[in-house]
Symmetry: C2
Subunit: 154 residues, 2 copies
């Protein structure tokens, strides 16, 4: 078994490696800015995420190495008789670790975490340009029942 | 002009009317439980939503009547250089008021609110079974660039 992964909440010391992963991606490379020092906007967002009890930034670690990341947001809704949902976003695996099941383990961990938090539903959207991602999530049990609509505001 | 709508944060006194709207819907009627007294799960969810500065439950009012509702969630992400997003969910118009532009005004209000909160993106998912909803959101400027995937946990 190649993978021995541990999952934990990200700390600010992990931020540089996380942003490197987010930027090292066909879509991410167009919209991220990974440079030294790291743009302050990443640090501010990190602080906002970790200060919010309804947001968790999770890293997958192999030894001391960070090999994957995802953000989970827990949201109370009135719909479904007042049910909480978990939303997964920003799932990335370090490029050198792709194809080894890190993404699968990340999402499986997220599903268990969402259950522990009492969520009745876990959801995510995936860009239609990421052809493999749709099949990946469907294999894990997600159903593409919805259209995911976005509007850029600036 | 038939509509003179005001928008405001929902209060707990509005909850009964809001749940009635959410239940009075082809999909909602299967999963909601509108009865007196209102199931406590709705009240708990309402309190969780209003206690969270990153969630807003917005009602559209015509005089003293509540004619529409939506929930907006503001989420900080590392992606897009640490950008905040607004997510719209649970958009409903009172059945007697449908076709009068209430939904359009709700979403337009949400877009302006998301801009004021500094969000770079506004997003939502819509059930593929709601054929008209997709066209409605596209007319308002949303792009169906993503698949919306869901998994029921219980």
């Amino acid at each position: 078994m190649d993978r021995e992964l541990n999952f934990r909440l990200a700390t600010e010391q992990d931020l540089d490696k996380i942003v490197a992963m987010i930027a090292d991606d066909p879509l991410g490379s167009k919209r991220e800015k990974y440079e030294q020092p790291l743009p302050v906007s990443y640090r501010k967002a990190f602080q906002a995420i970790t200060a919010d009890p309804n947001n968790e930034l999770i890293v997958a670690c192999k030894g001391n190495d960070i090999v994957g990341v995802q953000q989970i947001t827990y949201t109370p809704y009135l719909t479904y008789q007042g049910g909480w949902r978990a939303t997964i976003e920003g799932v990335r695996t370090r490029s050198s670790e792709r194809g080894k099941g890190v993404g699968t383990d990340l999402i499986q961990w997220g599903i268990q975490r969402a259950k522990k938090r009492g969520c009745h539903l876990i959801q995510l959207t995936t860009d239609k340009k990421r052809k493999d991602a749709l099949r990946f999530y469907e294999r894990l049990g997600f159903k593409a029942t919805h259209e995911g609509l976005k509007m850029t505001l600036y």
